[in-house]
């Protein structure tokens, strides 16, 4: 049924351009704050002392801090672009709003001119109505074109037609990589802590022994890493006393190693919340062996000069054997060994570069056993 044009025939903008502009401004300000926080974190991380930024922690933190800072900067940039696009469109949107107000006013005035006031005016009214209809249709097209153009420009900020292409979600990319990296290097991190303990023993042993006058011997006994500190040239008596003190310090530092191992477990647990499968966190624990496992394994190796000595053909086989029997075990300090671990039942396994027989050797100390078991390099006779 035909009816004269009304206010309802004229499209509404549907939003307040000023409010949209203000909201975009607030959003841009919040994105700037987010970037500022990310940059503060990034700067704080960059300023960490070298001693803390060991490769393992660096790999972990770089996976979090730097991508977060980069994406925060991108987000801030996008928010500012969004605000710029909306601000630029603001005058046109306000003009549309004014145009609508004017058009509606004219429509209302026209409707007041009821035909009842004189049928003679009907043709004129029909012409006026047609003009208003035409203007209304043009206005509706302008509203649609303006908002569509604005929408298109907003989408362009997103990087593509659907605004998604240029911004992969960091929430899934970064932590997975970081956690994987951390877990892969968990053993290395533990070794690092063990190294810190050993070096600490050397430093303490060396410093104390050096203070008394016999740094060289003190270092050797205290920490097993004496090359890091230049031996002092003291008296033999001083060396002996230094050695004793160094040995005490070395034992105490061994306790530090245990504390560190516990910290490492806590650290791994803390990382567990980031999303790796829980089973992977227990990989090392599940592969840890016991003294009984080690004894069984030794029996399968060729016998050496004694039953407690077993043989492998070459250095590579010895290294493989060490890696296998120490898998998942806790790093420990063992005087005279370049590296060592301790199993939960107290069995100690250590690797020496030199032995009386001349070559690289694995020593195994079972709790309560009189003698160490050994794995040498050699051919069975």
């Amino acid at each position: 049924m035909f009816s004269a044009i009304s206010e309802a025939d004229v499209a509404q903008l549907g939003f307040s351009p000023e409010s949209l502009d203000e909201a975009a401004l607030r959003y841009a300000a919040q994105a700037s704050r987010l970037e500022e926080a990310a940059m503060t974190g990034s700067r704080a991380w960059s300023a960490l002392p070298d001693a803390v930024a060991v490769p393992q922690t660096t790999a972990l933190m770089q996976g979090w801090v730097y991508p977060a800072a980069d994406h925060a900067a991108e987000l801030r940039g996008a928010a500012q672009q969004l605000r710029a696009v909306i601000s630029e469109a603001l005058p046109a949107l306000l003009a549309l709003q004014r145009e609508r107000a004017s058009l509606v006013e004219q429509i209302l005035r026209f409707r007041c001119l009821a035909p009842g006031e004189g049928w003679m005016r009907v043709p004129q009214l029909v012409a006026e109505e047609a003009q208003l209809r035409q203007r209304g249709a043009m206005f509706n097209r302008a509203v649609e074109e303006s908002t569509t153009a604005l929408a298109r420009r907003i989408l362009a900020i997103g990087g593509g037609e659907d605004g998604r292409a240029a911004f992969p979600r960091i929430g899934t990319v970064v932590p997975a990589a970081s956690v994987r990296s951390l877990r892969n290097s968990a053993d290395q991190v533990q070794s690092f802590w063990a190294e810190i303990g050993a070096i600490g023993g050397a430093v303490i042993g060396g410093a104390l022994a050096g203070g008394i006058g016999g740094g060289g011997l003190g270092l050797e006994i205290g920490g097993g890493a004496g090359t890091l500190v230049e031996p002092g040239g003291g008296t033999i008596a001083g060396a002996g006393l230094g050695a004793a003190i160094g040995a005490i310090a070395g034992v105490a530092v061994g306790a530090v190693g245990a504390g560190i191992a516990e910290n490492m477990r806590l650290f791994n647990e803390a990382q567990g919340d980031v999303g790796a499968p829980s089973s992977s966190r227990n990989d090392s624990a599940s592969s840890a062996k016991t003294g009984r496992d080690i004894r069984e394994r030794l029996k399968k190796l060729p016998r050496g000069s004694r039953d407690s000595i077993r043989l492998v053909p070459d250095e590579s086989a010895l290294d493989n054997e060490y890696a296998e029997i120490t898998k998942g075990a806790r790093p420990a300090n063992w005087k005279g060994h370049e590296k060592a671990v301790e199993l939960d039942d107290g069995t100690k396994i250590g690797m020496r570069e030199k032995s009386k027989s001349g070559g690289k050797t694995i020593d195994i100390e079972f709790p309560g056993a009189d003698k160490h078991s050994k794995i040498h390099i050699g051919e069975p006779k």
């Binding site: 704050r33 987010l34 704080a44 801090v65 908002t147 160094g246 980031v274």
Partner: protein
Amino acid sequence: MRAARIHLDGDAAAHIATVMDAAGSDAATAAASARAAFAELLDTARACPALVAALSAFEHARAGHGAAIGEHLGEAGQSVTTVLAMFERADSELGHAAEIGA
């Protein structure tokens, strides 16, 4: 001399841990504020289908990451604190070891 160096750096490290932790916390708060601000923006445009669609796509592409950035920095702050706590503990125990030695 690494252990001694850790000892010397202890105060600076603790300070940085505090800064890092605060940055993570600030980032989480800023991310929440940014999300709220964007929701307001979306709400403002709610009666204009073209704008709502465009802003929704923008939010999907950009604003969703605000939360991820905040969470990442929060986690990073906690990790730095954890790492430094380990150093502090190692440092203090090494100091204790020195006392036993003395």
